[in-house]
């Protein structure tokens, strides 16, 4: 029996079978040092899928990312041009769009084509709330430097506070591509967890009386204003921060396609098929880039802690700034501070949180449309902030 086994193993067939067995995921899991990390990441991927499917937390993002994590964490032998970090593999080619920052501007084109700036145009002071919430980005920058991260990595980590996945990916591709997986996953995770993270902070910083403030209904915005806004806003913001051109250019182009009314087909494509395709690609490749060997490091933990800090400070910044504005506003013109959280650019999740909280304290108080103002201002603000960080640290 033993002789038969040794003869079989030394034969061509035996060698082939042994080689195959050594290349299976199971063999690699146990033969690699730290192979358990792959299992940890697979569990994380499954958890993302659970959150998306069972609890409907940002399923459009978490389903592709969660499955991408599973794809990226099958232990395998390098050299078969399969893995995302292997030159010429299919995943590597798709990942090119993330590494070179191609996908984020395309996502912004779709976001622009889906965004209605009416609430912001009818009440432009909400723009300032969007600006105030960006303070989280710079607080996290200081925090990351204090923890010993180099300046470029600190800049990439800080942008998580903008709560804008595409912006975080765009900036990281320029400043710290080695942290792409960690920063993208962190940004998208916190975006998905907006309904969990923000409400306690909002309640902590507001009084019962403030939470039931009813805001004046928004005025009707003319189509001329809607058409001119993307052109004026693009020219103004990019003349100040040219590094934000790829993001803001696409955002405002998308919005112009929607508002001008003469290119309906382009607007529909940008806001449906295009953004869907790019969302699948970006989610899948970002998820697959979290290979356990490069993802599970102490620095990743630091990124997650700083990302949470950044997010919390951004939410606090928005809410407190509304309270500050209310000191100068007349009775009847006051702003409900529950829309301050929407200054982060998680559109429309943050605005939905404002609505849910508002209705909780007064069933007739609908804050959604008011919250969309700082929410879309947050998108512009975080893109401007990314441009500034890029111009300083790039």
């Amino acid at each position: 029996m033993f002789n038969f086994l040794t003869t079989f193993l030394s034969s061509f067939l035996g060698e082939s079978v042994t080689k195959f067995l050594h290349e299976t995921g199971f063999a690699n899991l146990f033969s690699h040092e730290g192979g358990y990390k792959y299992l940890v990441m697979i569990a994380v991927g499954c958890f993302f899928l659970y959150l998306a499917i069972k609890h409907k937390f940002e399923p459009m993002l978490l389903v592709p990312i969660g499955f991408g994590i599973l794809i990226g964490n099958i232990p395998m032998v390098a050299g078969h041009a399969i893995g995302i970090y292997e030159e010429g593999s299919v995943l590597n080619i798709l990942y090119y769009g993330v590494v070179k920052g191609v996908y984020p501007p395309l996502i912004f084109l779709g976001v622009g084509a889906m965004t209605d700036f009416s609430s912001l145009l009818s009440n432009p002071k909400l723009m300032l709330v969007g600006a105030a919430a960006q303070i989280g980005i710079f607080a996290a920058y200081i925090g990351a430097l204090a923890l010993g991260f180099p300046a470029n990595e600190a800049g990439s980590i800080a942008i998580i506070g903008g709560a804008d996945g595409p912006t975080a990916i765009f900036l990281t591709s320029r400043l710290a591509p080695q942290f792409m997986g960690a920063i993208a996953i962190c940004a998208y995770s916190y975006m998905a967890l907006v309904p969990v993270i923000q409400p306690p902070i909002m309640r902590l910083l507001t009084t019962k009386k403030e939470r039931v403030i009813k805001m004046k209904p928004a005025r009707v915005v003319s189509s001329t204003e809607k058409i001119l806004f993307p052109i004026i806003a693009f020219l103004l913001t990019t003349f100040i921060v040219p590094d934000a051109i790829p993001l803001l250019g696409m955002l405002f182009l998308g919005n112009l396609l929607k508002e001008c009314g003469v290119v309906k087909r382009l607007a529909v494509t940008a806001s449906n098929q295009l953004i869907d395709i790019v969302t699948i690609l970006i989610g899948l490749t970002v998820g697959a880039s979290t290979q356990a060997s490069v993802f599970l490091t102490p620095k990743t933990l630091g990124i997650f802690v700083l990302g949470a800090l950044s997010f919390i400070v951004a939410t606090m910044g928005g809410v407190l700034f509304v309270k500050f504005m209310n000191l100068f506003l007349k009775e009847g013109n006051k702003i409900n501070p529950l829309i301050g959280n929407a200054g982060v650019s998680a559109v429309p999740a943050a605005a939905r949180v404002s609505q849910d909280q508002g209705v909780k304290y007064d069933r007739t108080n609908y804050l959604l449309m008011h919250a969309m103002g700082p929410n879309v201002a947050g998108v512009v603000g975080s893109a401007v902030a990314a441009g500034i960080l890029l111009s300083f640290l790039g």
Binding site: M127, I388, L393
Partner: protein, 126 residues
């Protein structure tokens, strides 16, 4: 001394180890960009509201300005007109077209009304 314009991340870190200057400048730039945008939108919005409220040259008067002239902006009246128009659009299907489209009545099969079960094949003699 390296010019600020030529500084990379490392030289920025040397000159600003705690990141305070970068943070301060960045916050100022973001705020000022959005404040300028706010003033532009605010000014433009006022201009648009004023032009919409102004009576047209040909003697045509906009609905909003007409309401304003007579008894101030009556939001409830506007809401009522809006609701009436909406209801008119939504409930239009209640009007019958007066075209009969019923061509055939298909009776559903039931053993209770079936002839097969009501008649015997051959009457039995006693």
């Amino acid at each position: 001394m390296v010019s600020v314009l030529q500084m990379g991340a490392e030289s920025i870190l040397k000159n600003d180890p705690y990141g305070l200057y970068v943070a301060l400048i960045s916050v100022t730039v973001v705020l000022s960009a959005l404040i300028v945008l706010f003033f532009l939108i605010w000014g433009f919005g006022r201009l648009m509201v004023r032009s919409a409220a102004a009576p047209r040259k040909e003697g045509k008067v906009s609905m909003s300005s007409m309401l304003k002239k007579e008894d101030g902006v009556n939001a409830e009246l506007i809401a009522a007109i809006g609701l009436a128009l909406k209801l008119d659009g939504v409930e239009r299907h209640d009007k019958e077209s007066e075209v009969i489209t019923l061509n055939k009545v298909a009776r559903v099969y039931s053993p209770w009304s079936s002839k097969i079960h009501g008649l015997t094949h051959e009457p039995s003699r006693r």
